[in-house]
Symmetry: C2
Subunit: 309 residues, 2 copies
């Protein structure tokens, strides 16, 4: 028998361009969709593939009821197929992507996905294993405080997924061990960690961004301007593992005017100084804007555009 | 940016064994399922993946009504994804296979398929492109006379798919140009071509097998025994392209006893002389047996077993 691998290799003429790939991992209701939506709109949806790892559910909602684990467990997903599909997209090849319908809780016919300039993969477990991680140019972990995340999850799941607040809180408490075992370890593999938090008595969120030197991070020395240090500052810090890291704080007690000044400054130092920042950056809802969110998205946008040839 | 391909390669530790892969191509109702069913039962279903290329339908039955082509056209299939999935199986990797339901005419949730010792891929277009062909160890084209195939198709589609005979004949006539353009050219890429035919006034089918020297074909000189030449004979012939080929004729006018003797002879020279041939070989229906079918399946079985380490 001939060497089949070689025959296959020779028969495949893979001259396609590879996309820039971004992973956005985080627990349920950590803000993944909100971060991704603004980013995709800023890049242009026609240039992006937006992939949710929820589509790789192995079981539908009814089947999951009998299972000894929650959807946070890798065994609840086609996790090897997800890795395979990431690998195919990363090498410029199309996939036939499974589809999970959140409204009905059912798995439906798969759909063809061709790689595009940018592939953004958001979900519970995009960085679970080393093969998947090898496919990304940039990895992000969203790490809001548990208090904030609980609030977000109750709000979303009662509003759009038909659950009561008690049901959501019960789900959160049941999934806590699997969050610890499978979701949070991905934080260690992120190039950028984003922590949203609240400050007592303030309506706005603050955010801390860890920019790890695992990739070429943008030059943010411009934000060291003394007149904005009450709104944003850059600090050399130690990561949880003791390694040096850049830490950017965006303060939740800054005024709207300070926030606008911060966004302008970041956009001018990272983006195109001759144009205003895309209006989708920082958009929490059609009516609510967040400076910490906008800054996170600007830094991700910078990385994605810097990665293009 | 690091060399992503290399990182992916290093992160994937593909130490899985490669399956032996067989393609059985042919037009609608050429006998693909019948040949495959007996073969899978003889090998043991637990050792086989049986894959139908119909699952790679791009459109469901309703959507196909508006299309300017029939299901014989490659554009009616996810033909590149089929090639990709064959490549994955051939290199020992699992696939998330799409599923087409012939009863409802709908595409449903995909299913996980792990490669097994043997992967048998039967359908309209398994050998359509060179990448797909490179994945197979053995390729077969079923080429019954058009008269026989029309009869088989009318019988099956009226009995199990709810069509009238007139509808089936109309489908056949509409699909003739695409049969010529896409299905029949695969004949040129087969290691074995099987032609079933009828002989005027005889109930049994005859068969001609072309065994092309594109692979190591079994030694069939045993069937040159003079006392069976009226039932089966081996002949050196020229293929349609003028190349030398072995041609095995199994005559439809042989008696049941002759048929049994032929099968015994072939089984003893190719299979295990100490055991009887598996009862599934030659089974057309639970009550009908065909010696030409049994001989075809024995030769395929020989190839599949010879290919195993």
């Amino acid at each position: 028998m001939a060497d089949k691998t070689l025959r296959i290799f020779r028969a495949s003429r893979n001259t396609r361009r590879r996309p820039i790939m971004l992973a956005i991992a985080g627990d349920s209701a950590a803000g993944k969709t909100t971060v991704t939506a603004g980013l995709v709109e800023a890049l242009g949806a026609h240039r992006c593939v937006w992939l949710s790892t929820d589509d790789y559910h192995r079981f539908d909602r009814v089947e999951r009821q009998d299972k000894p684990f929650t959807p946070l467990h890798p065994d609840c997903h086609y996790i090897d197929i997800l890795g395979q599909h990431l690998q195919l997209l990363a090498t410029g090849q199309p996939i036939l992507k499974p589809v999970y319908n959140h409204d009905t809780g059912r798995l439906t016919r798969p759909e063809l996905v061709e790689p595009n300039e940018f592939v953004i993969v958001e979900g519970l477990l995009p960085m679970h294993n080393s093969l998947a991680r090898a496919c990304f140019d940039l990895t992000v972990y969203l790490d809001p405080s548990e208090e904030i995340r609980r609030g977000w999850k109750v709000k979303r799941d009662t509003a759009t997924r038909g659950y009561t607040a008690e049901q959501v809180l019960s789900v959160l408490s049941r999934s806590e061990p699997e969050s610890t075992e499978f979701i949070r370890p991905q934080r260690a593999h992120a190039d950028i960690v984003v922590r949203f938090a609240t400050i007592e008595g303030r309506p706005n969120l603050s955010a801390e961004l860890l920019l790890r030197p695992t990739i070429q991070q943008p030059d943010l020395t411009a934000i060291l301007q003394p007149d904005l240090t009450h709104a944003i500052h850059l600090r050399l810090a130690r990561d949880t593992d003791g390694k040096p890291v850049d830490s950017v704080h965006i303060h939740g007690y800054a005024t709207t005017e300070d926030g606008a000044a911060v966004e302008k400054l970041i956009w001018q130092s990272l983006g195109d100084p001759t144009t205003p920042p895309p209006p989708s950056l920082g958009r929490v809802t059609p009516d609510a804007h967040s400076t910490p969110l906008a800054v996170v998205q600007m830094i991700l946008l910078h990385h994605l555009l810097a990665g293009t040839p």
